[in-house]
C-alpha cells in the first residue's frame, strides 16, 4: 500500500466557500501533476451552509489508485496531515449546525501534522485560542487579513495561492512548488499569483506546539442514543422557557434570560462580537427585537446583555442601535472568554468603561460581507501588499 495524504480546509460558510474549494481543487490538481490521483469534496453535513458557520473541505491524495480508494472508503478522513484554518477566529473551535458540540480546530491533525492559519496575530495568541492536543503539532501562519467574500463574488487577494505555496514547503512529498505553480498558471492564468505562491513558500516557517500549550478546556463529549431509546415520531423535548436574571451586586432576581440549548453553542460562527455601553443605552429594545438569535438577555433594570454563548456575531444590533457607539462590533480575536458584559459592568463600572474603551480603540477593522460598496476593492491592494512582502 502506498501513502495517503489528507488535508482539511476549515472555512467560514458562504464567505469563504469559493476560497476553500479553490484551495482544495488546486491541491488535487498539483498532486496530479506528479502522477498522484486524488479527490476533493466538501463536508456534506455542513450544507446548506450559512453565513459564517464553520464548514470543511477535504482533499485526499494518494500515491496510487488502490490507496486512494482506501481513503475514499471513509465518509471523511479520520486524521489529516494538514489542517488549514482560513480565519484565525476558527482556532477557538468549530461547530457547524450539523455537528455535535464544539470541536477543537486541531482535532483531526496527525501527531506532527501542521495547522496553517491565515492571521495577523502572533503565534501565542493563536495557540491560546486553540485547544490543547495530546501530541505535538506544528503551527504555521500565513500572514494576512481574513479573506471574506460572498456567494457570487470572489475576493482575489492571493490568499488561495499563498496557502498553496506554504503547503508545498510544509509537505513537499505531496507536491512541489513547481507543480503547484504550473497549476496556478493553468487555473488562474496570472503570473503574479505564481509569484505570490513562491513568496509564501520562501517565507513559510512553523513552530512546534507542545501538549501543555493551548486552551485547557476539555472538548465536549457525547453519546448518541440507541434507536429504542429515542422518542417515536421524531418528537424531541423542547427547551424550557427560562426565567429571571440575578443581579450580581444586589442579588435580586428580575428581567428575563431564556434557557438555551446546553450542548449546541452557536458562538463558533462569530468572527466579531458586540460590546455594549450600558451607560448610554436608552433601553429602546431594538437590539433585543432584531437579534436573529435571541441572544440578548434582559437584565433586572431592563438593559440588554448579549449572551456570548448564543451570539453569532452578525452585527444587526450595531446596525439598528440608534445611540452612537452604544453597540460596537469588535474582532473576536480580541476576547478570551464568553463572560457577561453586564455582570462585569455591574461589579466594576469604571473598570468596565476602561475595558470597553480599550476594545473599541484598539479594534482592528473586521467585517464580513459588504458593509459598503467598494469595500473589497479597498481591501484587495492591502492584501496584495502583504503577499508581496511590502
Amino acid at each position: 500500500m502506498g501513502r495517503l495524504f489528507a488535508i482539511e480546509i476549515i472555512y467560514r460558510g458562504i464567505f469563504q466557500k469559493t476560497l476553500a474549494k479553490n484551495i482544495s481543487r488546486a491541491i488535487v490538481l498539483a498532486a496530479h501533476e506528479e502522477g498522484k490521483p486524488g479527490i476533493s469534496f466538501g463536508r456534506y453535513g455542513d450544507s446548506p451552509e450559512r453565513n459564517g458557520i464553520p464548514a470543511k473541505n477535504f482533499a485526499i491524495v494518494a500515491t496510487d489508485d488502490v490507496t486512494l480508494e482506501e481513503g475514499m472508503a471513509k465518509y471523511e478522513p479520520k486524521e489529516v496531515d494538514i489542517t488549514i484554518a482560513v480565519d484565525d477566529t476558527l482556532c477557538k473551535g468549530v461547530e457547524s449546525w450539523a455537528w455535535y458540540g464544539l470541536q477543537p480546530v486541531n482535532r483531526l491533525l496527525k501527531p506532527g501534522g501542521t495547522l496553517i492559519v491565515t492571521s495577523r496575530e502572533e503565534p501565542g495568541t493563536l495557540i491560546g485560542m486553540s485547544h490543547r492536543k495530546e501530541s505535538p503539532y506544528q503551527l504555521s501562519i500565513v500572514k494576512g487579513t481574513v479573506s471574506f467574500s460572498g456567494l457570487w463574488v470572489y475576493k482575489d487577494d492571493h490568499t488561495d495561492v499563498r496557502i498553496l505555496g506554504a503547503i508545498s514547503r510544509i509537505l513537499p512529498e505531496l507536491f512541489s512548488l513547481q507543480s503547484v505553480q504550473k497549476v496556478i498558471l493553468d487555473e488562474w492564468k496570472d503570473p503574479v499569483k505564481v509569484q505570490s505562491a513562491a513568496k509564501a513558500y520562501d517565507r513559510t516557517t512553523s513552530i512546534t506546539v507542545t501538549p501543555d500549550q493551548g486552551n485547557p478546556e476539555v472538548p465536549y463529549k457525547f453519546d448518541l442514543p440507541k434507536w429504542y431509546e429515542m422518542g417515536d415520531g421524531i418528537a424531541i423535548p423542547s427547551i424550557p422557557a427560562g426565567g429571571g436574571m440575578e443581579d450580581p451586586v444586589a442579588h435580586t432576581l428580575g428581567g428575563f434570560q431564556p434557557d438555551r440549548n446546553p450542548t449546541f453553542k452557536k458562538y463558533t460562527t462569530r468572527t466579531m462580537r458586540p460590546v455594549l455601553n450600558f451607560d448610554t443605552c436608552i433601553k429602546c429594545t431594538l437590539c433585543w427585537l432584531h437579534c436573529p438569535d435571541s441572544c440578548f438577555d434582559v437584565t433586572p433594570e431592563n438593559l440588554y446583555d448579549p449572551n456570548m454563548q448564543a451570539c453569532c456575531g452578525c452585527g444587526v444590533c450595531e446596525a439598528v442601535c440608534p445611540v452612537k457607539d452604544c453597540v460596537t462590533m469588535v474582532n473576536e480575536a480580541q476576547f478570551s472568554d464568553n463572560a457577561s458584559q453586564w455582570e462585569m459592568w455591574r461589579n466594576d463600572k469604571p473598570g468596565y468603561e476602561k475595558w470597553l474603551q480599550g476594545k473599541i480603540e484598539n479594534r482592528e477593522e473586521r467585517s464580513h460581507g459588504f458593509r459598503y460598496r467598494g469595500q473589497y476593492e479597498e481591501q484587495v491592494p492591502e492584501m496584495l501588499n502583504i503577499a508581496r512582502g511590502a
Partner: protein, 410 residues
C-alpha cells in the same frame, strides 16, 4: 424533422481530463448531448447539477432553454411537453422534490417521453436529512422509468450519454433516471475524461420524435382520455417497450466501447473479484468503494468474497443475474433503502434478487438482506466484514436472520 436545437462551435480535439463532481459530469454530458430544454428547481443534492448547467449556459458553452420552474411538478411537466415537441430535455431532483413531481413522473413514461433525469439520491423527509437513500428513485420502479445507478463521476458522464441514446431510440421512447448518491457522488470531485464532441456526435444521433412529434405539420393529439376499453392495451405497449430496453442497452454499450474506447463490460451489473468467489455481496451506487476495500482486506485473510454492483435496476437483468449468482454458495444484498412490511421485511433490492432467483433453473443460493447506510450513514469496512460473516454462516447452512440492520445504534 426540424428540431429546436442550435449548434455551438466546439474546439476540443482530444479527450480532456477535468477535476469535476458527479453532478458536474452530468452537466458536461448535457453540454455534449447539446440538450435543448432544461428545467430546474432547487433541492439538495440535485441542485448542484442545475447550478453547473446554468454556468455552462451563462458562459456560452451551452445554448438551451433554461427554465426555473415554480416547483418540481411543473419542472417535470415542462420538459415532458418540450420533449413531445421534439426537444432533447434534461431535468432532475432529489428526495421529496422527486416525490412532489410524482404525478408528472407517472404520466411521462405513459406518453412515451424519452426524458433523461438525474436523481441526486437523498433520504425522504422527515427528518429532513441530506444524505443518500435510494427510496426516492425507487418510488417510480413500477411505472416505466428506466433506472440506473452509477458510482463515479466518469460513469455518471458516460451513462448520461448512454441514457439519451437508449431513451430516444424509437423502439424505446421511455424516460431514464440516473441515480447519483448524494454527497459521495454529487459533491465529490474526481478526475474525469471528457470525450470530444466528435465522438459524442458519432455515438448519439439527434433526437427524432418522428411520428409522435407534436407539431402543426404533424397534427396529433397526445394524452386523450381513455376508458376501460383502452387501458390494458396501452399498458401492454409500455410493457413491450420496457422489454425491448435490454437489447437496446446492450447495443448502446457495445457502440460506446467501439467509439469511446472504454468498456463497462456487462452493462447491467458489474462483478468484482467474483471469478473464484465463495460468497458475494451486492449493492448499488457508491457503497462499492468501502465494499471493494473490505473485499481486498478479507481476501488477504483468505476469505474469497466477491461483489456484484447492480447498475441497471430497470430493466432488471433477472435471468442473467440469477445465472451468475448460481455460482456462489450465498448472497448478501446491501440495501441503501427500505420497504417496510415487505416479504421478510427486507430492502427493495434484496426482494428483487430473491424474485429473480426463484424461477431460475440453476442453483439458488440463500439470499440475506442488509439494511445499511441509510440517510448517508457511512458504510464502514468493518460493517462490510460483518455482513460477509453473516453470509458465510448462511453458506454453511446455519440459521441466519433474512434481514439485518447494520451500522445501527442498538
Amino acid at each position: 424533422m426540424a428540431t429546436v436545437a442550435t449548434g455551438i462551435q466546439h474546439e476540443q480535439k482530444a479527450d480532456e481530463t477535468a477535476l469535476i463532481t458527479g453532478s458536474e459530469a452530468i452537466a458536461v454530458a448535457c453540454k455534449l448531448a447539446d440538450v435543448d430544454v432544461v428545467t430546474a428547481y432547487p433541492i439538495r443534492p440535485y441542485d448542484t447539477v442545475m447550478q453547473y448547467v446554468a454556468k455552462l449556459v451563462a458562459n456560452g458553452d451551452l445554448d438551451c432553454e433554461y427554465i426555473v420552474a415554480e416547483g418540481e411538478h411543473s419542472q417535470f411537466e415542462i420538459v415532458k411537453h418540450a420533449s413531445a415537441c421534439g426537444a432533447r430535455v434534461f431535468c432532475g431532483s432529489s428526495g421529496v422534490g422527486w416525490m412532489y413531481a410524482m404525478e408528472a413522473l407517472t404520466v411521462t413514461p405513459a406518453l412515451r417521453i424519452p426524458m433523461v433525469a438525474m436523481v441526486g439520491n437523498r433520504a425522504l423527509d422527515d427528518p429532513g436529512a441530506f444524505g443518500v437513500e435510494h427510496n426516492d428513485a425507487l418510488a417510480v420502479r413500477d411505472l416505466g422509468w428506466q433506472l440506473v445507478w452509477v458510482d463515479s463521476p466518469q460513469e455518471a458522464l458516460d451513462t448520461a450519454l448512454i441514457a439519451y441514446r437508449v431513451s430516444e431510440d424509437r423502439r424505446i421512447f421511455l424516460p431514464c433516471a440516473i441515480s447519483c448518491d448524494g454527497a459521495f457522488l454529487t459533491h465529490s470531485q474526481a478526475l474525469v475524461k471528457i470525450p470530444t464532441q466528435e465522438k459524442v456526435d458519432s455515438f448519439l444521433p439527434r433526437y427524432n420524435r418522428a411520428d409522435l412529434l407534436l407539431h402543426p405539420d404533424n397534427p396529433i393529439t397526445v394524452a386523450p382520455q381513455g376508458n376501460e376499453d383502452w387501458v390494458m392495451e396501452i399498458r401492454r405497449q409500455n410493457f413491450a417497450a420496457m422489454e425491448r430496453t435490454v437489447g437496446v442497452i446492450r447495443e448502446a454499450y457495445a457502440d460506446f466501447e467501439r467509439i469511446f474506447g472504454r468498456s463497462y463490460g456487462n452493462p447491467f451489473f458489474e462483478e468484482y473479484m467474483t471469478d473464484d468467489a465463495e460468497i458475494v455481496l451486492m449493492g448499488m451506487g457508491t457503497l462499492s468503494t468501502p465494499v471493494k476495500v473490505a473485499i481486498r482486506k478479507m481476501r488477504e485473510e483468505g476469505k474469497k468474497v466477491g461483489f456484484v454492483r447492480m447498475r441497471w435496476f430497470r430493466p432488471f437483468a433477472a435471468e442473467e443475474l440469477a445465472k451468475s449468482l448460481g455460482r456462489f454458495s450465498a448472497v448478501g444484498v446491501i440495501d441503501r433503502d427500505y420497504s417496510f412490511g415487505s416479504p421478510y421485511l427486507g430492502g427493495v433490492l434484496a426482494g428483487e434478487v430473491r424474485h429473480a432467483l426463484y424461477p431460475s433453473p440453476g442453483r439458488r443460493p440463500p439470499v440475506l438482506g442488509f439494511i445499511c447506510g441509510l440517510g448517508g450513514r457511512e458504510v464502514t469496512v468493518p460493517d462490510v466484514e460483518k455482513m460477509a460473516d453473516f453470509v458465510y454462516q448462511a453458506a454453511e447452512g446455519k440459521s441466519v436472520p433474512l434481514t439485518t440492520w447494520i451500522g445501527l445504534r442498538e
